[in-house]
Subunit: 190 residues, 2 copies
């Protein structure tokens, strides 16, 4: 039914056919039109999402209305307001579909039950979270040491599927660059 | 032998006395004088450390010699160059003792064996990594939305044991403030 997410998980852990079925049975399918919000500030966030198809952004809007893109997600990525999901605090982020998207959600209660019934998922999500933590640290280091061009190239490597699908000013915002600086960098590289 | 780290772990998972002994047997004790380096850029990092006593900082030095403090660690915290530890890349950070410190290290090979022998540790380190990931995201959001004073108060709450032990200019550096701005904030709060 969802071969893609199974393939994604079987890269890291082994599951019997029964365990695979049990896992698939807890997933909640969600379809989102382009420009629809999945999460809004103030909401309770009980679900994290795996992206089957489409593209989303998670962003923060400060009091002056400045937008800061915190994360993109395409096929095979996970997205949510993770702080709200893990700590039970109200959401601070907007999560919005940039393209029409299909997601598979896991409710935090189902996830806790899953950990008890199939502890191998502790390993799977430990590996995923470690990857996300290390990527975030690495992004902070890049912002301290690398030029705009280097950060853009790094972005293309990390998000090879996004670069062509997302407007220039979104990528500039994520990288902390002015849109005209990013246009100049892209021209230089072509 | 090391009641403190056991207590730290038993907050999140249950272990039989035999499992506790097995865990303790893989720990490597390390003593560090004040101002000694634990990790230097370029090194291979095979160990992550739990702090029994003392205080350390992890920082990045850019090409112009500007220092950026990425993390502090005191009693009951974990520290390493996590990117290097998890991805097997050469270290990019310095990790240095601010005070005389006692650490317990776990080698990544011992950790992999531990996961196989006592899978409950997958859960323990998943919870720790999730906490670190969420704290890092939260720190990025704070830098986008909060004033210097709010960030300083948040710091005092997150690191209650550090505020009194670390020089003013270290905390200012970590918070991305000028030392004189931090002094002003501290005066206003007193």
């Amino acid at each position: 039914m969802y071969p893609q997410i199974l393939q994604h998980i079987l890269k890291d852990i082994e599951l019997t056919p029964e365990e695979q079925d049990e896992f698939l049975s807890i997933l909640l399918e969600k379809q989102l039109e382009k420009k629809t919000l999945l999460i809004k500030p103030g909401e309770t966030v009980n679900v994290e999402y795996y992206v089957v198809s489409g593209c989303l952004k998670a962003y923060y809007l400060n009091e002056s209305g400045d937008k800061h893109i915190i994360q993109f997600a395409v096929e095979d990525w996970w997205i949510s307001d993770f702080e709200a999901f893990f700590n039970g605090q109200p959401a601070q982020l907007y999560v919005e579909a940039i393209e029409e998207s299909v997601l598979l959600g896991i409710h935090k209660d189902s996830l806790e039950t899953l950990y008890k019934r199939i502890p191998k998922f502790e390993r799977f999500f430990r590996l995923k979270t470690t990857g996300a933590f290390v990527a975030l640290r690495s992004r902070i280091l890049s912002s301290l040491q690398k030029t705009g061009k280097e950060r853009y190239l790094e972005f293309c490597e990390t998000y090879p599927k996004i670069e062509q699908r997302v407007p220039n000013y979104h990528i500039a915002n994520y990288l902390g660059l002015k849109p005209e600086s990013l246009s100049r960098i892209r021209k230089e590289l072509n």
